[in-house]
Symmetry: C2
Subunit: 109 residues, 2 copies
């Protein structure tokens, strides 16, 4: 087929997968790192700093925005992007719990 069977998974599993997927691209990691560094970031700066076309950057920003990971505000002619705190903290906690639940190598194979 070619489409994920979301209906057989829990809401939490689908949500976590969607958020991870939104982050799972080197360009989007780079964009987030850039935003984390200066708290804020104008779209145009990314086009210069990463080596991707403007349309491509815009598309990556859209994906991060659709996932709720970043938010954008109109600032004159340009648009200022920054982290969406709610989703950020949610994912931070979810992933924190997820990774911490590993009990180590005992009884492993």
């Amino acid at each position: 087929m070619g489409l994920t069977k979301t209906e057989i998974f829990t809401e939490e599993q689908n949500q976590m997968a969607a958020l991870l997927k939104a982050m799972a691209h080197p360009a989007r990691i780079a964009i987030l790192q850039r935003i984390l560094k200066s708290n804020t970031c104008i779209c145009g700066d990314l086009v210069e700093e990463l080596g991707l076309a403007q349309a491509t950057i815009s598309q990556h920003l859209k994906e991060l925005k659709n996932a709720g990971i970043i938010q954008g505000t109109i600032e004159g002619v340009s648009i200022c992007y920054c982290i969406e705190p709610k989703t950020w903290k949610l994912l931070q906690n979810q992933l924190g719990d997820f990774f911490a639940s590993y009990k180590g190598e005992q009884n492993c194979c």
Copy 2:
């Protein structure tokens, strides 16, 4: 085009994206949750518990294995899967740092 321009990103960005991508599917989240819960997991159990065909589960396991997130050991006729501690801790630390580097909503837009 349709292929990621890995050459313009850092090794770290590419690696992190690859690991996140391997986890970014509800079935693979479910598989990891199952392994985390009982430390270990036989492939056949997953086929029963999740509602996916044996070929599909096997493919998801392969992706997690290729990414280095899990490891498999032959155990008689079946195969026992468990977490690969090194990669797990690496990703845990990387993501921990990444999320913690968010300085909050000050100077945001």
